[in-house]
């Protein structure tokens, strides 16, 4: 399988501006930062959640707790993906009971990753509320999952892939739409 780049969806500045807006929206629609905590979905949700927390600290002067969740053990496709994917640790050093959680991920697609993340969170306790923040919504949902905080909605075909490249992981910063060609 070969992939070709079709077009750029977001530049580095656009990613930054989008995250600034999302950080403000999260605080505004939570009525402040009480009980608020961000949960980054491994991998690219993690730097995004950290950036959102940093931005919130910048304008609200509050350090919102940030955690990381690994969804591997909660995937519903394990028996069909062949050799088992590598498991990583969660890193959530605060109790989730009674918290107002915002799951942060890069791309919302089928909704299955978010279902898995929610299952993982329930195993840790009983949050007061869970909402979802994503950078890109590319459609093609297979579960009734919607983002509460959305960066950009993009029309895609099911052969296309949305590639989010972040400085912390990929040493470059942009979002691209690529297509699979045989």
């Amino acid at each position: 399988m070969r992939v070709v780049e079709k077009r750029q969806l977001l530049s580095a500045e656009e990613i930054d501006r989008t995250l600034q807006r999302l950080a403000h929206e999260i605080v505004e629609r939570s009525g402040g930062t009480k009980d608020l905590a961000l949960i980054g979905v491994r991998r690219r949700g993690v730097p995004l959640s950290e950036r959102l927390a940093k931005t919130i600290h910048g304008f609200a002067n509050v350090q919102v707790p940030v955690g990381t969740i690994d969804i591997t053990l909660y995937r519903d496709d394990l028996s069909t993906v062949g050799a088992q994917p590598i498991v990583h640790s969660n890193d959530i050093d605060f109790p989730v009971d009674g918290r107002d959680l915002v799951i942060v991920d890069d791309v919302l697609y089928t909704g299955r990753t978010i279902r898995a993340a929610m299952n993982g969170l329930f195993d840790l306790g009983r949050p007061k509320r869970i909402r979802l923040c994503v950078l890109i919504d590319r459609g093609h949902r297979e579960l009734p999952v919607e983002a509460s905080f959305l960066g950009r909605k993009v029309q895609t075909s099911d052969t296309e892939i949305v590639e989010v490249r972040l400085q912390e992981i990929d040493s470059e910063e942009r979002v691209m739409l690529v297509d699979r060609v045989d």
Binding site: D70, G82, A83, P85, V87, V164
Partner: protein, 316 residues
């Protein structure tokens, strides 16, 4: 490239990379043991056969709990109630189990090599839970995890193993595993239980006849149980063993100040280990038990969960 494991028969066959991979994969499962809700659905619909042809309490419970926490079901075959007593062969027994379509089998057997024999005849992953005087690989892996957690590394440690080395599958599995990381291993116990041949099992293995010499400068001391049920030759008197080989606080002081003490259990206080040492800050015996769950969950997840092909990356 990491060679994918199909079975876990012993640590002798494992590469350094495979060992490190298993230990790394146990780490998320260590964290999992602290969850308020200890139940995953990861292996839901999978069945693990636990075939224990030899009595076992802690290892069997550990594997059963590991399988349960991953969401797998277990079928149990135990020595006391097994058809082994009615004269059925090992192969017939495991083929009967296989006909019930488990997705993996965990075997403990009094004969060395039984798990390998079974793995060559069944089409499902086999995990050795202890075979005769051969190997007990999951014990060595959980020991290694405990050592790595406490010491921050596995490389180049001075490890002393005390007791009945000759009949100990734990000792063999530990020697194979730790020597992959360049440990200097010292074996010590009554002469009849520490044969010279053990020095050629792996590089950097030596024997010491006196316990004081054996524990000097040790980073890790693994105390073995005195396995009375395996001893056929005229054994030594208990008081003689205590005098010569019991790990006492005074003897422990000869080791490095930050040395740790491991014991695979069940522990006989006052025989191979003094109670003060067993309950002291250097003792890791209860961590070993918790780590055993993590190691066995990681192994069942990777061995029982997947098919032997490359994983498809999750695309978005």
């Amino acid at each position: 490239m990491l060679q994918r494991l199909e079975h876990l028969l012993g640590t002798e066959d494992l590469t350094r990379e495979q060992i490190s991979f298993i230990l790394d994969q146990a780490s998320p499962f260590q964290e999992f043991q602290k969850h308020p809700l200890k139940k995953l659905a990861t292996l839901r619909g999978k069945t693990v056969a636990l075939a224990f042809f030899e009595n076992s309490t802690r290892t069997r419970i550990s594997f059963a709990t590991a399988a349960a926490r991953l969401g797998a079901d277990t079928m149990n075959l135990q020595a006391e109630s097994s058809s082994l007593k009615k004269g059925e062969s090992l192969l017939d027994t495991v083929m009967t189990l296989e006909a019930m379509r488990p997705d993996g089998i965990v075997i403990r057997h009094p004969s060395s090599g039984a798990p390998k024999f079974v793995s060559e005849r069944l089409g499902i992953p086999v995990v050795n839970a202890g075979d005769g005087t051969h190997e007990h690989p999951t014990q060595a892996l959980l020991d290694a995890l405990t050592i790595r957690d406490r010491k921050g590394r596995l490389d180049g440690l001075n490890v002393t193993i005390l007791g009945d080395i000759l009949h100990s599958r734990v000792a063999r599995s530990n020697i194979y595993l730790l020597s992959r990381f360049g440990s200097k291993i010292t074996l010590c116990g009554p002469a009849m239980w520490v044969p010279r041949e053990f020095e050629s099992l792996a590089p950097n293995v030596r024997r010491a006849s006196r316990i004081e010499e054996a524990v000097k400068d040790a980073d890790v001391i693994i105390v073995l149980r005195v396995q009375t049920e395996r001893i056929h030759e005229p054994g030594m008197a208990a008081d003689e063993y205590i005098l010569g080989y019991q790990l006492t606080p005074t003897r422990l002081q000869l080791a490095r100040p930050d040395a740790i003490v491991l014991h695979p259990g069940p522990m006989i206080r006052g025989l191979e280990i003094d109670s003060t040492v067993a309950d002291g800050p250097q003792s890791c015996v209860l961590e070993q038990v918790t780590n055993g769950l993590a190691i066995r969950m990681a192994l069942l997840y990777h061995l029982v969960g997947g098919a032997a092909v490359e994983p498809a990356p999750a695309t978005k």
